[in-house]
Amino acid sequence: MLSLNCCFASFGQNKNYKIIVNAGLPYENIERTVIQKIFLGKRTTWDNGSPAIPVTLNSRDVHAAFLNDIVKKSPDAFNSLWMSLLYTGRATPPPSFASDTELLMYVAETPGAVGYIESTTSLENVTGIRVITVKD
């Protein structure tokens, strides 16, 4: 996917967020466009056919950074997209959580879930999730 912004070999671990998935998924590296399409509602399954469940964080800075890098949309554009899907009945917005802890619990308990947390959040003693790297 071409972009007017610079391309990097990988994302996620170089920024102020980490991308996490439910540990039941067999992936450690995922293409950026795959995650982008999941968060835009264009893709609802992973390559293995299991449901893909996007999850967002209410944290302003982390949310904006993730959307800018991975989804290529501003928070307003992202909200507008999901509002258009909601008010036309085509889809409902992804679950959104106020804290990393709540998001971690949801991703750990939900097969196929993918989300993001602050890069400084400790994952010691956290089970059921895996941090992934994203490649362009």
């Binding site: 071409l2 609802t44 449901p51 008010y87």
Partner: protein, 414 residues
């Protein structure tokens, strides 16, 4: 006491419904909605069935929707909608959409029920002020006058997303069904139909009856079918689209004839049954969006075939319209938006009217304020050249060619 009983009854229904939904596994029911209120004022000509020369607040919308999921592939919901736009709507609550959606794979899903018609960039969200870049969408493509066949349909549709590798992605829709005319006794259909039929009668299509007039139209929508395709290119934010639809409308009306007999005139009223076919209703679209800038352009072409065999009326009126639009997000809270829109009618049957009745050139510029995350306000001005889209009923003395419009609107959503 009666109000208290009603409140208890409504609470009981809500509680029962929630319990039933939980039993069905629909505990993820979401409820959302929006409310909008606007004001419009024109320097000359009353517009969109409103008496805008005096200023009008008959310009609002409200909706509430209920949506749920039944597993990863199946979801559904309904949206109830109410609007007032001059003589249109008048706060009647309608089913905006209500359907079930089974997404078997990303490349193939099916929807059944009442569904918004996929057409152009903004048709499905045209009544949702918080999602529109401007107060009024360009009437060249989003004409409030014949909105009904392009608005929503009852039936079914197939849809999907298909990756085409390095060339980007395709999103498609194919649909078929029937459509309703919510206000069959008047509103904008009344204006459009009257204009077309009156022109046909006076131009001599109806032999030797220059004073014939149309009364009391009753409009009924029939079949509608079509498709839409969007191509999201490899360049981030750039997409192209095209859509086509066909629709049938039946119009029952009365034809009033004034028949001179020697020194007196006899008025004779006869029933009319008119078939209106909308053919090759095509919209071509292009849009580029990045973090701050939106650029869009669309073109619409349509053929309208009107036949009334009993009175030997057969008209074809081709309509063309296009616009270019730009919006720039100056800050997180302020966006500048504007467009230039042109509507043109090739109906040669309207022979006795000034040429500018056949076009409308609209130059619009406005500001969009995001007051909070759930509250916006927009203000915009329009410079208009032409009389197309204007209604005879609101402007019985004719149309001015050059006129101005001010539109203000505020919206809340939850």
């Amino acid at each position: 006491m009666r109000m208290l009983n009603r409140c208890i009854a409504v609470a009981g229904v809500f509680l029962q419904t929630s319990m039933s939904l939980a039993q069905l596994g629909l505990s993820n029911l979401q409820v959302h909605g929006f409310v909008s209120q606007g004001y419009m004022k024109t320097s000359d000509n009353n517009y969109l069935t409103m008496m805008t020369r005096n200023g009008s607040f008959e310009f609002n919308e409200a909706a509430v929707n209920f949506s749920f999921t039944l597993g990863p592939k199946l979801h559904g919901g309904i949206q109830l909608f109410s609007k007032d736009l001059g003589r249109e709507g008048n706060h009647n609550i309608i089913l905006d959409w209500g359907y079930g959606d089974y997404r078997w794979r990303d490349f193939l899903g099916i929807r059944l029920g009442r569904i918004k018609t996929p057409r152009g960039l903004y048709n499905e969200i045209r009544d949702i002020d918080v999602l529109r870049p401007t107060v009024l969408l360009p009437q060249s493509v989003y004409n409030e006058g014949i909105k009904d066949p392009a608005f929503a349909y009852q039936g079914g549709g197939l849809y999907g997303y298909v990756s085409i590798g390095a060339l980007g992605d395709l999103a498609y829709d194919a649909f078929a069904g029937t459509f309703n005319v919510p206000d069959p006794n008047g509103g904008y259909w009344d204006n459009n139909f009257r204009n077309m039929m009156q022109g046909a009668l006076r131009s001599g299509e109806f032999p030797a009856q220059p004073n014939a007039t149309i009364r009391n139209p009753f409009i009924r929508g029939n079949r509608l079918y079509g498709g839409a395709l969007k191509w999201e290119t490899p360049l981030e934010g750039l997409r192209f689209g095209g859509s086509i639809l066909y629709a049938d409308v039946d119009v029952e009306a009365e034809l009033e004839l004034i028949i001179p007999i020697q020194a007196i005139s006899i008025i004779r009223v006869m029933p009319m049954h008119t078939d209106v076919q909308i053919k090759n209703h095509i919209v071509g679209s292009c849009e580029y969006k990045n973090q701050r800038l939106t650029l869009a352009a669309e073109y619409q072409y349509e053929e309208r075939h009107i036949r009334e065999p009993e009175h030997m009326i057969s008209i074809r009126a081709d309509f063309k319209g296009w616009y270019t639009l730009g919006a720039y997000r100056i800050t997180d809270y302020l966006t500048l938006a504007g467009y230039y829109s042109v509507s043109e009618d090739d109906d040669d049957s309207i022979a006795e009217q000034p040429a500018y009745y056949g076009w409308l050139r609209d130059t619009a510029l406005g500001l969009n304020f995001r007051l909070t995350s759930s509250w916006i306000m927009k203000v915009e001005g329009h410079y208009m050249d032409g009389g197309y889209h204007l209604g005879v009923r609101e402007n019985p003395d004719g149309f001015e060619q050059y006129w101005y419009l001010l539109a203000v609107k505020t919206s809340f959503h939850f």
